[in-house]
């Protein structure tokens, strides 16, 4: 986690009555097991974010995410981008204003339906995306390099199983952005 600071008071994290969103399957899986997974997941998220630090030019996390979405599809309509980001069209439009101003994406109208706006990466955007991918591979590789080949093998097997379990429990949810819609 983030806590490089020693003192932990930690309020009792588990004293509330289950309101009602996640089903809570704690009865089936030992609590210490989920706790261990939680801890590593947090650590992994932190590790993952490290790759974004110091990118040139300095792009905000949100803009980076939009660039990734566009890169993933090659080209997206503005509405498609909004959907992919879990945001609404107007937010995506404003975001594109800034991305375009930063020279990372290009907007052009579609020939088929002139109401649609196609968003794609500019050359600079492509370079940014490539650099980001390179860095992510690097940070992950750095950690894996600390492990023995045998450990890496076991990790891959376990992670693959975990990934399958994730897909089994969560269909295909969008990547909610700043949705404060409670």
């Amino acid at each position: 986690m983030t806590q490089r600071r020693p003192r932990l008071p930690a309020g009792d994290p588990g004293g509330a009555p289950p309101p009602g969103v996640p089903p809570a399957a704690d009865t089936e899986v030992p609590g210490d097991v989920t706790a261990a997974v939680e801890r590593v997941l947090s650590e992994a998220a932190l590790l993952w974010s490290r790759a974004d630090q110091g990118l040139e030019p300095a792009v905000s996390p949100i803009q980076l995410r939009a660039v990734e979405a566009v890169a993933r599809f090659g080209r997206l309509t503005l509405g498609g981008l909004a959907e992919e980001l879990g945001a609404i069209p107007s937010s995506a439009s404003r975001l594109c204003d800034r991305l375009e101003a930063a020279g990372l994406v290009v907007r052009e109208s579609a020939q088929a339906d002139r109401r649609e706006i196609i968003v794609r990466l500019s050359d600079q955007g492509e370079r940014l995306q490539a650099e980001l991918t390179r860095r992510r591979r690097a940070v992950v590789g750095e950690v894996l390099a600390q492990m023995s080949p045998a450990s890496r093998g076991r990790l891959i097997d376990a992670l693959t199983e975990f990934g399958l379990a994730c897909e089994r429990s969560e269909p295909g949810l969008p990547g909610a952005l700043g949705s404060r819609s409670a």
Copy 2:
């Protein structure tokens, strides 16, 4: 984003010769291995974020993170909270204004040094934190429930090894927030 960088580019995003953040250990670890880890990491991050959806009241991701930080330490000075969030004091102060207005935290001056402001969770903040923890346990538990006990055992072992490797490669970095410091 507030970008200390006034705006644009000027710098190429990355065609980029390794700027100097990740050393790149690709030569030592097979590319497909890192790719597999990357994929699961992305999936895990998505899974992790699911627990934050629909919380009552609707708290922004940033505010939630601040609540978690305060909960983790029990009580923090405003400066300590800022540090923990990877933000500067003024940002943390404004964030606390909103958190206090939302009834999630309480600010009080310290007796020892009256310049310091101690931030701690209100009862409502404690309840929110408890609920968040419960939900996280639930979403992780939901995925783990899809796996056999044997698979879970292997996962825990592999994850523990991975966690150790993470700690070995990354000492203790702060949880950079909106730091777009390139």
